[in-house]
Assembly symmetry: C2
Homo-oligomer: 315 residues x 2
């Protein structure tokens, strides 16, 4: 028997054909057709999956089911509550998809949560039953695994760590409309925002210009981390600020969930050691002692975490 893992993004749809034991056989990618409120997306995927089976000389009866990760909240029953990136409104994706794919079992989840399950089953969190993952990309996403299973929450919006409030004094607005969300400090966008704000302060002006070498107002998050590694004072202060709020947020998540392991993924996590060190320092200061014993891991599966996790929804 085989199964499929599908990771639906705003630009491309990644799919993987898996053995029933979770081993990846082959992966594919098709474009996301968002025209007409995304009404062709499900048909595009089912046609693609049928073509894969045909190519492998397999019948649909040899397929155990399809797991799907989606860019929006999905509750534990498969109800989507609006998926703006795809143009979708409210409906049950599991029922709709199954109807168009031979009545096979279909199970869906939020993409960040499904990626967390992927890392737990096949990546950095292998063998850990209680795990939190945070994805530091353009935005900040997250997912929670409790006793080996996804925590969905009431509307499938559990794990939205990026929008927890961490600074009640913030004056800038987050993409979500609030002020002081973790995403404003720990995303790639947030890192650049902080660096720019520092440039505008007396701290930015008073800097010894020798130590303020690389950065300008068009800098990227990667450049900020590279400059910090090279000793740039403004960049170092930016990374400290990131570490403070991310350490606080993860200490908070640890007090609430008492996980065994926190997996950090997304583009910003490629900063590596300098980031983890700063986060761990603040985490250890702020976490409640009985919840302190947490392993910090960098995500291992990269962009494949979604298809691995989606496939793991089927068992």
């Amino acid at each position: 028997m085989v199964k499929f893992g599908v990771d639906v993004g705003g630009t491309t749809i990644k799919t993987g054909l898996f053995e029933d034991n979770g081993r990846l056989i082959e992966k594919y990618e098709i474009p996301t057709d968002k025209t007409e409120q995304g009404r062709h997306i499900i048909d595009n995927i089912t046609e693609h999956l049928r073509a894969v089976l045909e190519e492998k000389g397999m019948e649909i009866s040899q397929c155990q089911g399809v797991g799907i990760g989606l860019p929006g909240p999905v509750d534990s029953e498969g109800n989507i509550l609006g998926c703006v990136n795809l143009g979708w409104g409210t409906f049950n994706i599991e029922q709709e998809f199954s109807k168009k794919f031979g009545g096979l079992p279909v199970k869906a989840g939020n993409d960040a949560t499904v990626a967390t399950l992927g890392e737990q089953r096949a990546g950095a969190g292998r063998g850990m039953n209680n795990l939190v993952m945070i994805t530091l990309g353009t935005g900040v996403g997250g997912g929670i695994i409790n006793q080996g299973e996804i925590v969905y929450g009431t509307n499938g919006a559990a794990g939205e760590i990026g929008h927890m409030p961490v600074n009640l004094e913030e004056t800038d607005m987050c993409s979500c409309g609030k002020r002081g969300c973790l995403e404003q400090y720990a995303s790639a966008t947030g890192v650049v925002r902080m660096a720019k704000k520092l440039m505008d302060t007396s701290f930015g002006n008073d800097l010894d210009k020798d130590f303020h070498t690389v950065l300008n107002r068009e800098c990227t998050a990667k450049q900020v981390f590279d400059a910090a590694k090279a000793g740039d004072a403004l960049a170092k202060k930016t990374v400290e600020c990131l570490g403070k709020y991310l350490g606080m947020a993860l200490a908070t998540a640890a007090c609430i969930l008492n996980p065994e392991c926190i997996v950090i993924g997304g583009g910003v996590s490629r900063a590596g050691e300098i980031l983890i060190k700063e986060v761990e320092k603040n985490f250890n200061e702020l976490v409640f002692r009985p919840c302190k014993n947490v392993k910090f891991m960098l995500a291992e599966l990269g962009n494949d975490a979604g298809i691995y996790g989606a496939a793991a929804l089927i068992n």
Copy 2:
């Protein structure tokens, strides 16, 4: 068939005899004997439970099992990792207790978590599958129910909402050794601490004394709330500060867990409307929109939540 719910505290042990459908038949209380590192506690409880069965003319074979709430972390396997209030070290309470009570099924959990299960099964959270409870007493405890089941975390320390960091600028130390925990603002002790701190500021000195009627340095948390209701400016400012940090903490918990309902219990919750109003105001400002639709409820079972929840561990 019947079952027992046992709530072990540092001073008294509360027990309840329940029908297997969860209806309370009768409740009892015995003192907690903490002498000799609490080594008599289990025997005291089992003797008491045998006496209850005898009084009711029942055999031990008519008892389904015993659920126990304990004042310390208990993991999902029944391992206690030290219970300082009872003098206990590290052992498996479920195995030890069962050995002394006819080999019956025994299931244990942390007291705050078990009380949460009680409110979910028989109190304010009836019919809600995803629920967070926070208990504002001398300290601040908490518990989490996900899809109808207790979230234990790795060492049974999940739900420690009282020790989440909410203020990175705090200079006073929490009972746990950290600075800036929610407990320093939202517990009875914390309310008094904040009021006293305000008395020492210029705000305290500049107050129109007509509006600063009741409070002195020996005030209780209840007096602070009563004064706030009567219009005392310093007391009102204290309650605002409590609302700010508690609202932030619960907004954070909601972003992470997306619960249907947040139950507020403990002595401080008796302040009622003035507290809930202040908390909801801050919560609504700080919570991520998809997680906003949360019902705030006051706990209903009071001191009986523990025995109801403990009994619900057996099914």
